[in-house]
């Protein structure tokens, strides 16, 4: 069967268009709408495209002898990436435009859903947000098993909810529990997983995608949802709705209104069973209009855009840079092993080197466990895990590094040791090999100077845990080779991380801003605040983890060492509470030793406050929770302002992105500088002074002159 094209609507072909139309006569008269936005690698459902789609639907509806419609994309890696979110970034004056846009989308998708003939979404590549909502409006969804095919509704990650019918139609298709999991988690599974979840109907290789879609239409039946699903959803909406809401509120601490809004719309819609979807669709629109008015939504969207921008810059840098195939990682400790694991998972062959078999063995143990965990979480298959393990060659002696294109050093944080190591690397590697250190605080220039190729030495600062932290600080010492920077950005981009270029100054960006905050937390604890009080105020603020818990996770010894380095570099404002050293001396190292600020009862149990730690503190009166939070937050904002002032990174955006990705600064607050703008410099300066803290000159000037970090800061 060779599909034959006829062209009854030539008039529509004129002008620039995002959708190609093709009519096929076998196995019946079928309209194939191919999304192919001109001069773009992506398809989006912007206003013009929706209007064009509406015009095509006019023709389809008017065609009396049509048998079906297929939606497909001509792009290599994208079906339809989603809506055009530009309106979300605009201020409240665009509210009406947004409402119109939402309605337009819903209207068009409703028309697709109402077609009398079978409709098929033939999905290859990213099918996200509006793209999947279009697919949900179709009768059938067929997808390719390609790596690039990802299917889901990630809107809540941007602070909104699926509002083109996604929050209404997905629960009807897959049931409430799965819909909640997918929409609230913003999950985007691959085709196989989506098939298992019932999100799609079939998986076929890309070469057969269109043929499979036509075959489905040839059956001449509209899809029918199982009748019991409507009743099931009604029952579940009343039984689990309340519990799910309470759980979501507890988990988000009220910081993510979109999650709650999505849940409310889903539950309310499901409560109506298979009734008229119109009320639910109206709730979708209202939820997005309301959410879009919040700064949280704009901030989340902004962070998303910053990340996309950083990726684009890195991708640009990576052009013409051949992919890295072999990297040597020196040091099989926590960081070295985690970096080796991540590189190997990304297809790079890794030589993992340490000084003796027991250290290498411990590193291989960590790597084995990381892979086992990834398999347990279903983020990779057992075969992928084995392939990753196979790419690692562990060596317990000074094996030659002549084949390595990069060396990443993750040895002990002692300058003398690193200098000696890098001196040795000079002879062990080819002259072209790039040498990177994963130091978190030591001067990269000093390390570089110990080699005969200082221009090819740089810092690549990964964050712990490597597999979850998306940021890598790229440290190029003064006078570094621009080609080296390009290749560093390319490597970071190759392994799926986001790079931020930072200057070679103590603590770079993230640790420099984070450490004063951690030390404030430690000081508050020292002064009498409880572990819970300190951690809870920051969890409420939106940090993913309380500061004392974070210190435990990092390791108190590591935190102490970094803190001491920074205290030496910035003695005017950073100091280390002495009790911390005593805790470390007593072997309370945090999670790795089983005890720190918290007690860690093995792999399963929840950590509890370690009452023993109280013995180390000076004591006093606990500050109230507001001033407790302000102290910690102000210190972060102040240090972030200094970093911006000293050009530790190129732009304010870099500060914000770095802190969100590297330190977990609440993304809905937009990053420390964005958040500072929303508070206003004046209020921060006044607040700091009231707490007897000295704001930096930059903040004081800004307060005096009523300035902001961002000119467009509307809220």
């Amino acid at each position: 069967m060779q599909p034959e094209a006829i062209n009854p609507f030539d008039s529509l072909k004129a002008g620039s268009q995002a959708i190609q139309e093709k009519w096929i006569t076998e196995p019946g008269k079928i309209c194939v709408l191919t999304f192919d936005k001109p001069n773009s690698s992506a398809n989006t459902l912007d206003r013009a495209t929706l209007e064009e789609l509406a015009r095509r639907l006019d023709q389809i509806e008017a065609s009396p002898d049509i048998h079906g419609v297929v939606f497909i994309s001509a792009k290599e890696s994208i079906f339809i990436a989603g809506a055009d979110f530009e309106l979300l970034t605009k201020g409240p004056e665009h509210r009406e435009l947004l409402a119109e846009y939402l309605e337009l989308g819903q209207r068009v998708f409703n028309r697709i859903a109402a077609l009398k003939v079978p409709t098929v979404a033939a999905i290859h590549g990213a099918c996200l947000g509006g793209g999947y909502e279009l697919a949900l409006a179709c009768d059938y969804r067929i997808a390719t098993p390609d790596k690039r095919t990802k299917i889901g509704l990630p809107e809540t990650k941007l602070g909104i909810i699926p509002a083109w019918g996604g929050s209404t139609r997905l629960p009807r298709l897959v049931g409430i529990p799965r819909a909640l999991d997918l929409i609230l988690g913003g999950k985007t599974p691959n085709a196989e997983r989506a098939l298992r979840l019932g999100m799609i109907d079939k998986v076929v290789p890309r070469e057969w995608l269109l043929r499979a879609a036509l075959q489905v239409i040839g059956r001449k039946t509209k899809a029918h949802l199982p009748f019991w699903r409507g009743w099931g959803n009604r029952i579940m909406a009343t039984t689990i709705g309340g519990k799910a809401r309470a759980e979501a509120l507890r988990r988000t601490r009220g910081n993510y209104p979109a999650t709650i809004a999505a849940l409310d719309v889903i539950i309310a819609g499901a409560g109506e069973g298979f009734g008229d979807p119109a009320p639910s669709l109206a709730r979708e629109r209202k939820a997005v209009s309301d959410l879009a008015a919040n700064p949280e939504c704009r901030n989340l969207f902004r962070v998303f855009m910053l990340q996309e921008h950083a990726r684009k810059v890195a991708k640009e840098a990576a052009r013409d840079v051949p992919p890295v195939r072999r990297v040597a990682v020196i040091g099989a400790g926590v960081m070295g092993a985690a970096i080796a694991q991540w590189l190997s998972a990304k297809g790079i062959e890794v030589l993992l080197r340490d000084v003796d078999a027991s250290r290498v063995g411990a590193g291989m143990g960590r790597i084995t466990k990381l892979y086992a965990d990834a398999v347990n979480h279903r983020s990779i298959t057992p075969r992928e895990a084995r392939d990753g393990m196979d790419r690692i060659s562990p060596v317990a002696y000074e094996a030659p590094l002549k084949r390595a294109e990069w060396v990443i050093e993750a040895a002990v944080e002692k300058l003398a040791i690193k200098e000696q190591l890098f001196h040795g690397l000079d002879a062990q590697t080819l002259p072209a090999t790039l040498l990177a250190t994963n130091t978190s605080a030591l001067p990269v220039a000093r390390i570089a100077a110990s080699t005969g190729r200082p221009g090819r030495v740089l810092g690549l600062h990964f964050f712990n845990p490597v597999h979850r932290m998306p940021l890598v600080e790229v440290v190029i010492p003064e006078g570094g080779d621009p080609d080296v920077k390009r290749r560093a950005l390319a490597l970071v981009q190759q392994i799926g991380k986001t790079p931020v270029v930072v200057r070679d100054t103590p603590g770079f960006l993230v640790n420099r801003v984070l450490l004063p905050y951690l030390m404030q937390a430690a000081a508050a604890f020292d002064g009498g605040a409880s572990v819970e009080a300190v951690d809870t105020v920051m969890l409420d603020f939106g940090m993913p983890m309380g500061p004392l818990r974070l210190a435990d996770e990092v390791g108190l010894d590591v935190a102490l060492e970094v803190a001491q380095t920074l205290a030496a570099a910035y003695p005017d404002r950073m100091s280390v509470p002495p009790f911390l050293a005593k805790m470390v001396e007593a072997g309370l190292l945090g999670r790795k030793s089983g005890r720190g600020f918290y007690d860690y009862p093995g792999a399963k149990g929840e950590p509890r406050t370690n009452w023993n730690a109280l013995n180390f503190r000076t004591g006093g009166t606990a500050p109230d929770s507001v001033s407790l939070r302000d102290r910690m937050v102000y210190r972060m904002l102040d240090e972030a302002a200094r970093c911006q002032d000293e050009k530790v990174v190129a732009t304010a955006e870099d500060v914000d992105l770095g802190m969100v990705l590297g330190a977990g600064f609440p993304p809905f607050r937009g990053g420390p500088l964005r958040y500072a703008d929303s508070l206003g410099a004046e209020s921060i300066v006044a607040g700091m002074k009231a707490l007897l803290m000295e704001p930096c000159a930059r903040l004081q000037t800004m307060a005096a002159q009523n300035q902001k970090f961002y000119e467009d800061a509307a809220d």
Binding site: A357, G361, M364, G365, R366, D387, D390, S393, V395, R403
Partner: protein, 417 residues
């Protein structure tokens, strides 16, 4: 000399092996391909050789895992050897490790490639159990039956004895032609050469003592193996065969396994150990090694395989060595001799026939009685061990030989450059 000296010199550049561990112990959870992969990974890391330069990968393995047929290819791909490099698996029973090396030699001398990654691997822990043929037929019938009635009648055909599997290891260690177990062939030699139980036990004890004394020297050829565990990974760094507290009394207390007439002499103590392990070696032309700036361990000058009576397979090394002698080889000029210790009785019988090998140069770091005998890997280990020892001693000529189940012997003449 002979024409042997004329063609391209074939050198063994370097090699590593995993620890050899008794079956069912530290390495039992690793399949043969995983053992081989770890050895190859370690060798490639050690030599920094670009695997793209390899012309072919050749591995010896006697009991290839059912899930890794042509195990050499599996090892090569998993170790990162480029897809375009072919691989083959060879088997000559206990000489499979030899065969991988000599196959590379033959190909090089025939002008078919200049760089070969070779070795041997065996997981005797994971040799499968088999169902009898008639039981297998019943399983097949069950799988093919469609209706419930058919299925029930297929099930009815089973008898309890059908579920008793035969250990593949036992089948593998029995010569199908003579029907004799390998140990039984050793008993024949003990009887015919009048080798006493005491002589065999003394030889076994010496093997353990030498292996223990040579522990540090052997460490130079061993790469650590990382065995995944539920919590992470366990690191295995040394052979676990050599027994610290081995005594004549303890050996004397063991019961003969193969001849239970009361006069048997071959025991578990004076036989080789059943083990898991893998060896990887890099074989190339001298010229290629020079170009790549590699200093070889030594040169494979000549080799020979020869057949003998399967019932007396332990004597195999004798005709193989005699064959080498016809081409200019002289035992008297040989600094070191490795004869695989399949059985003490068998080695002692070979020595009796050869007459010129004194103990000072035989198996100086112990042998398979102490170190273990992962059949597919052993040949490659003998070559690696003897070449490293030759370098340590500053010697020049070495011989590695072994007996082969089924009635063969293999002998490799090696030389330091």
């Amino acid at each position: 000399m002979t024409s042997l000296q004329n063609g391209e010199a074939v050198v063994i550049v370097d090699g590593v092996r995993t620890p050899f561990c008794k079956a069912g112990t530290s390495l039992a959870s690793l399949a043969a391909d995983e053992l081989g992969r770890q050895a190859v990974n370690a060798l490639l890391a050690k030599t920094a050789l670009d695997p793209g330069l390899i012309d072919e990968v050749i591995f010896g393995c006697v009991s290839q895992p059912a899930e890794s047929t042509n195990i050499a290819r599996v090892i090569a791909l998993r170790a990162g050897v480029p897809e375009r490099v072919p691989a083959l698996t060879v088997s000559r029973n206990c000489a499979s490790g030899f065969e991988a090396i000599t196959e590379a030699y033959t190909r090089i001398r025939a002008g078919r490639g200049s760089v070969f990654l070779v070795g041997g691997t065996e997981s005797m822990s994971q040799v499968p159990f088999y169902f009898r043929r008639d039981a297998a037929a019943k399983f097949n019938a069950l799988a093919r039956s469609k209706s419930l009635v058919q299925r029930l009648s297929a099930l009815e055909a089973f008898r309890p004895s059908d579920f008793k599997p035969t250990p593949g290891l036992k089948l593998g260690l029995t010569d199908p032609v003579s029907g004799l177990n390998m140990g039984a062939t050793a008993e024949i030699l003990a009887r015919e050469f009048d080798i006493t139980r005491e002589a065999q036990d003394a030889f076994a004890l010496r093997s353990h003592q030498r292996a223990l004394a040579g522990r540090e020297r052997l460490a130079a050829e061993i790469c650590p193996v990382f065995v995944p565990t539920p919590g992470g990974s366990k690191t295995i760094v040394e052979d676990n065969g050599p027994r610290e507290n081995q005594t004549t009394t303890a050996l004397a207390g063991l019961k003969p396994v193969f001849d239970r007439s009361g006069f048997g002499t071959v025991t578990a103590g004076n036989s080789s150990q059943i083990s898991d392990g893998a060896v990887a070696l890099l074989v190339m032309t001298q010229q290629r090694a020079d170009e790549l700036g590699l200093t070889p361990l030594g040169r494979l000058v000549d080799f020979a395989y020869a057949g003998c009576d399967p019932k007396r397979m332990g004597l195999g090394p004798v005709p193989a060595i005699r064959a080498l002698e016809t081409r200019g080889f002289s035992l008297a000029d040989t600094d070191l001799v490795e004869i695989n210790e399949a059985f003490a009785a068998q080695v002692l019988a070979v020595l009796e026939q050869l007459r010129e090998v004194d103990e000072g140069r035989l198996n100086v770091n112990g042998g398979a009685i102490a170190l273990g005998h992962p059949v597919g890997a052993t040949g490659a280990r003998l070559v690696l061990t003897v070449l490293l020892e030759l370098r340590r001693r500053g010697g020049r000529q070495a011989l590695a030989a072994l007996c082969v189940g089924g009635g063969q012997g293999g002998a490799l003449r090696l030389e330091r450059i």
